[in-house]
Symmetry: none
Subunit: 227 residues, 4 copies
DNA sequence: CATGAATGAGGCTTCATTCAT
DNA sequence: CATGAATGAAGCCTCATTCAT
């Protein structure tokens, strides 16, 4: 069900996930190269705008390899989407915030999340693309919930700690909080082109970026603070 | 040049904005019908995923009419994008908040904006699509800044009033505030498919929607409140 | 750029001159077949009148192959034009006139050139077509001057020899002479349809053809003869 | 049989040659304007390359007018072709050479013809185009032979006079002579683009033009001269 | 595994022509 | 006569996919 569930599923044998691949995909090898190039291409142009030819050309490999490893365009897209999420969420497991008091810890999370979004536009664009696709392909990634769980878990622990210490409001919902942090971080990247043009404020300029980050951190902190 | 950035733009007359059309485009007539259908198609599938044939078929008109009125796919896309913005922003001019105190006024703005985003996913998707396109086409819409100005102006007046009355912090930036409101409203629509799947929370469910709206309103109000 | 001067030439690889083709193009293989058919089609209908679909159909190959090998209609046209010149000029290198006295040698050249034009209307028509195109495409053929050099070189040697022997006028210009021979040979083919109709003289009739050839040979010989 | 003999002759009523037009077409009025523009367009791009839209646009009139006056693209093309011939041949009737001795008279004819060709590339291009069309449309112009008769008649009288005076060879054929003069004059215009590029000699440069004219005049005179 | 060649469906666009007013 | 709008056929080109080697 990985590749080729939608269109023209007639003849493809779909040898999925062949080759002794480790879970990490930044390894070398043809398969990994294709995946890296695919993430770039799909994030730049979306699913329909991406070109198999371009991916093959930039990979240096032959087009047949894409079909061999991923079964087709959609299979490759799903793999690229999954890998994007995987890389993006990997960072959260690297936070070690349990030694920090809740407020500085949250401050760190928000600021880091905000920055990390800006540093990974290809992930933001993959997610935008997938939402344009109505999430049709993301549903095929079985492990996706699991991949994203740590992000919520981290906030959950922090909320509990902050509430216990009396510095956070007691009615916080970690998912809701995660959503706010995500929204404020995501938008800055996802809408940067239209926003920049319309309001004449270049969101990638360092000063603008950090002012906005401060504002976002401030907003979140005011939101959670106990009355 | 607005339309026909691609091929053989030499001889095509591309009679843009023909026909005595009023600024409103919800009128009938072939041109208006095409535009309405195009907004649906582009917002559903993006620029590269949209199909001229589909638009023509659903319009009931001949495919050539698209070229007659809009010069080509890109010309039509730009027109659809502009019209989307125009319709979306039209609502703001209908707010009459000067009689309300600043806090209720802002509460109204945020809640309305949040709801209005949810009610107009085709606009959100157009903007997402255009950002996937790196804002390449939005730049061709000369009046866009002007179309969006009232949104800022409204907030600007409100901030000044709230600050004068001592109920808002004195360091508010209307554009920054607008951005936060937009981000929190936008994300709920733009990322609904991935978010729903990953966190198992259907953002379109009325209860979820209004809980989230309350949270967003709350967040904005806490943010602006004078200390 | 050779091929794809029109649309979206961004990503197209346009692998020109692929396949281990020898300089001769009358070989078989898809590429060669397309080229041969294209020469017929373009010479019959000109650039704008030629049909890619017709060429593909007569080739028996898939339409995509034309784009694969030649990048597009214009790329194919340029290749067909170049190949036409190449074939046409190949004959001159097969003359071995150095053993003949100047006058018979020139007589041979003129008569052969005249006949050769009549036997290769597709070349004449390609050249006409290209002149209708203002020579826009011929300029893209880097080797064209080189391809045509032998024709002048042959006449140059002959003129020098004739002058040295005192049988030719001393003020001959080989390029001018070439032009006269070409003009008189070319016109008979290029204008045959209009001329035939207007003056009721079928230039392809053997008797008419050879009478005209004699007249042309005579004209050139009288022109070069030493006083 | 003027317009619409070939394609899609289904429904067109073909109101040919309406409007009280004089034989001359340089008059003003919509019909004449269309014809003038059409000569330019067809001579520039050939029959298949010419665009009805372009002609209409440059005429300033509506496309329907072309159909009204000429029945369609082919009808207009035939009319443009006829008018081109008519204008081109008009000049010959203006020669008054009976007072000149045969040799100067012929010299005048050749030089004038040569120059006149260079001054009327649109005529040369119309004739090229029509030959690419295999003379399919020229046959529909009933008066064409008659239009071209004076050119031969002029030469015929001159040949007879020159022969009678003993200055011309006695075996001259006026049609053959006309053909030689035409060929040498025509080629300089018809093949100028390819020739210029290949041999690096700009045939439109005044010095090149007159040197070539001298050569052509010389060639014809040597050809006719009595032994 | 890897490659170059081939395929076919479908996409965007053009253009001569016609129609209603 | 004149116009703007409409039509439909056909044109060129792209692209995911497959195949033979």
């Amino acid at each position: 069900m990985n590749a080729k569930t939608t269109t023209a599923a007639k003849k493809t044998p779909v040898k999925k996930a062949k080759a002794p691949r480790a879970e990490a995909a930044e390894e070398d090898g043809t398969r990994a190269t294709i995946l890296n190039v695919a993430i770039q291409e799909f994030s730049r142009h979306g699913l329909s705008g991406a070109r198999i030819d371009t991916i093959a050309a930039e990979t240096g490999a032959n087009k047949g390899m894409i079909y061999y490893y991923f079964g087709g365009k959609e299979g490759l897209y799903v793999a690229a989407l999954e890998e994007s999420y995987r890389r993006f969420r990997r960072v959260e497991s690297e936070f070690h915030l349990d030694d920090l008091p809740p407020v500085p810890a949250l401050r760190t999370i928000v600021a880091s999340t905000f920055d990390y979004h800006a540093q990974h536009p290809e992930f933001i664009r993959m997610v935008m693309t997938e939402n344009i696709n109505n999430g049709e392909y993301v549903r095929k990634i079985a492990e996706l919930q699991q991949i994203n769980r740590p992000a919520i878990a981290l906030l959950d622990r922090l909320c509990k700690r902050g509430i216990a210490e009396g510095v956070f409001r007691s009615d916080l919902d970690p998912v809701d909080l995660h959503m706010s942090i995500s929204a404020l971080s995501f938008y800055n990247v996802s809408n940067q082109h239209t926003f920049s043009f319309i309001f004449g404020r270049d969101l990638t300029a360092p000063a603008v970026h950090s002012a906005r980050r401060d504002s976002v951190v401030d907003m979140i902190l005011r939101f959670v603070r106990a009355p």
